[in-house]
Symmetry: C2
Subunit: 286 residues, 2 copies
C-alpha cells in the first residue's frame, strides 16, 4: 500500500509517559521532532517494534545507582532486533506534589520502583511516608495529583512536574548526585546498517562451556587485542539451573579494527554467541 511507504514514519517506542527520562533519551538519540510512542511496560515496547507499530525503540539498560535493567537485555536477546546506538541521561529527580501540599502532611510517594530505590535515604528519614511503586516516574505525577488527598506526591523529572503543573517540594531528590541511566537505541534486525566508524562498541550475548576457567579463557585473547570489556552481566538460563548466559560489552580503543577479531576469539570459546549490536555511543546528556 502506498500509504505505508510514503506516509509518516512509525514512531519510536519507549516505556513510560510523556516527561519520562526515556523520552529525553529518545530525543537525544533521534532528534527533538522524532515521533514517539509511550508504552506501559518494556514488553509492550518490544511488542510495538515486532508488530511494526513502532519503527524502533529506546530502552534503559543500566543505571549508575540501581545497576542493570535485566529485563531490557533479556527482551533484546529474545527479539529479532539489533542495538544501533546508546546515550547516557542524567537522572535528577524532584518531589512533585499538588499545589498546597506541605511536607508534614505527606504520607505516600509514588514512582517507578527504580526511582524509589534511588531515594531510599528520604524514606529512611521519614518512616511514616510509604513508597508506592507505579509503572513510570512521569506517569506518577498525574496519579499523585488525581489522588486529591493532600497526602500524595510523586518522584519524577522536573520536566514531568512542569508538564502537569505540579509544585516542586524538593529538588535533587535522589541519594547521590551521580545518577545516570544508559539507554540503547534498538532497531529491527533487518534494518541493521553497516557498522559505524570509530569508536566501536559491541554488545554481545554468549554462553560458555560449563567448565572451570571458561570465562578467563574467553576474556584473555580479547584483552590481548587491547579491546576493553566495559561491562559483564550474568543472567540465568531458564531450564538449566545455575548455568549462566553472559552479556558483554566490548569497546575498541583505537580505530575499531580489533573489535571483530576479538568477537571471533570469543566465539571460538563460546558454546553460543550472538552479536546484539555494534554501534557508536553518543555523548552524555546532562
Amino acid at each position: 500500500m502506498d500509504a505505508a511507504t510514503t506516509g509518516p514514519v512509525a514512531p519510536a517506542a519507549y516505556q513510560g509517559a510523556p516527561g519520562a527520562y526515556s523520552e529525553s533519551a529518545a530525543w537525544a538519540l533521534l532528534g527533538p521532532n522524532a515521533p514517539l510512542l509511550p508504552c506501559v511496560t518494556l514488553r509492550d515496547v518490544f511488542d510495538a517494534v515486532a508488530s511494526g507499530r513502532a519503527s524502533q525503540a529506546v530502552v534503559p539498560v543500566e543505571n549508575t545507582l540501581a545497576g542493570a535493567v535485566p529485563e531490557a537485555a533479556e527482551l533484546i536477546v529474545a527479539h529479532d532486533v539489533a542495538v544501533a546506538g546508546e546515550t547516557i541521561v542524567q537522572i535528577d529527580h524532584v518531589l512533585a506534589a499538588p499545589n498546597g501540599l506541605r511536607l508534614p502532611a505527606l504520607r505516600r510517594v509514588l514512582s517507578h520502583p527504580v526511582a524509589l530505590a534511588q531515594c531510599t535515604r528520604f524514606f529512611q528519614d521519614h518512616p511514616a511516608i510509604t513508597a508506592v511503586p507505579v509503572f513510570d516516574t512521569a506517569g506518577a505525577v498525574p496519579l499523585a495529583l488525581a489522588a486529591d488527598d493532600h497526602a500524595t506526591a510523586a518522584i519524577a523529572s522536573r520536566r514531568a512536574a512542569a508538564l502537569h503543573g505540579a509544585q516542586i517540594l524538593a529538588e535533587g531528590f535522589q541519594d547521590h548526585v551521580e545518577n545516570w541511566t544508559r539507554f540503547l537505541l534498538v532497531t529491527p534486525a533487518s534494518e541493521r546498517s553497516a557498522p559505524p566508524v570509530w569508536p566501536h562498541k559491541a554488545m554481545i550475548a554468549c554462553r560458555l562451556r560449563h567448565e572451570p576457567g571458561a570465562l578467563a579463557r574467553a576474556l584473555t585473547p580479547v584483552a590481548a587485542r587491547g579491546v576493553n570489556l566495559t561491562r559483564i552481566e550474568s543472567r540465568p538460563i531458564h531450564g538449566r539451573p545455575f548455568e549462566y548466559q553472559f552479556l558483554l560489552e566490548l569497546q575498541a580503543d583505537r580505530d575499531g579494527q580489533d573489535l571483530q577479531p576479538a568477537i571471533d576469539d570469543l566465539a571460538r570459546e563460546a558454546s553460543w554467541l550472538r552479536v546484539l549490536g555494534i554501534f557508536t555511543p553518543a555523548p552524555p546528556l546532562a
Copy 2:
C-alpha cells in the same frame, strides 16, 4: 547480664511472613526448631542482625528464573557480616484464593514482584487480570483473603496457602518447573568460625583497576589453580559512574587447599577485595 547469656537464643531473621520460601530455607539451614523472626524488608533483616534482635539471617541471593537479588549482596557488603552457609530451595507456586472464587471472576493477583515475574505466562494469557506487587509471597495470601471481593488471589507456596486455609486454584503456577532460589546464611562477622572442610566455596566482593584486561588478568591465575568461578555479578559503584564492583563466587574442586591461594592471587590484581564468606553448601531442598 545473665539473662542475655543463659536466656533463649536470639532468632534468625528472614524477609517475608510465615509460609515464605525464606522460612523453608531457614529451617533447612538451622533445623526445624530454630526460632525465626519474620521481617518486612531485606533492610529490616540486616537491621535486626546489626541490633542483636536476630542472631543471624537467611536471605535469597539468586533465583534460576529471575536472576540475582542484587539488594541482598549489597546489604551483605554494607554490613559487618559473613556468609556462613547456603542452601537451595525449589520454588513451586500455587494460585491461592478465598473459598468459592472461580478463575473467570479473578481480576487481581497479589505476590512478591519476583514471584509475579516467574508467572508472566499466566498474565500474558489473561490480560484482564492485574499483577499487584506486595512485600512477600506468603504475606500475599491473607491480603487476598482480606480483600473479600471474590476477585483477588495470591501466588505463594502450597504451605502458605494451607496456613491460611486458602483454596488452591492452580498448581505448578510458575512459567518453568526449574525454579530454584539459593539462600545464604549470614552471621555477624565477629562470629565467623574456622573455614569448613571440603568442598570450600568462597564469596568475594572486589574492585579491579579501571583498565583494559583487568578482569581477564584477575581470573586467569584462579582458573590455573583449578578453582571454578561459579558466578560473577557486576554492580555499580555509587559516585563512580560506569565503574563496577564485582561479586564473585569461587568453588574449589578438590580438598579446598587451592581456595585461599586463589583468593590471594585475586587480591593482588584487585584495588579492593573483601572475603564475604568461606562455607560449605548444603544439598538442594526440593
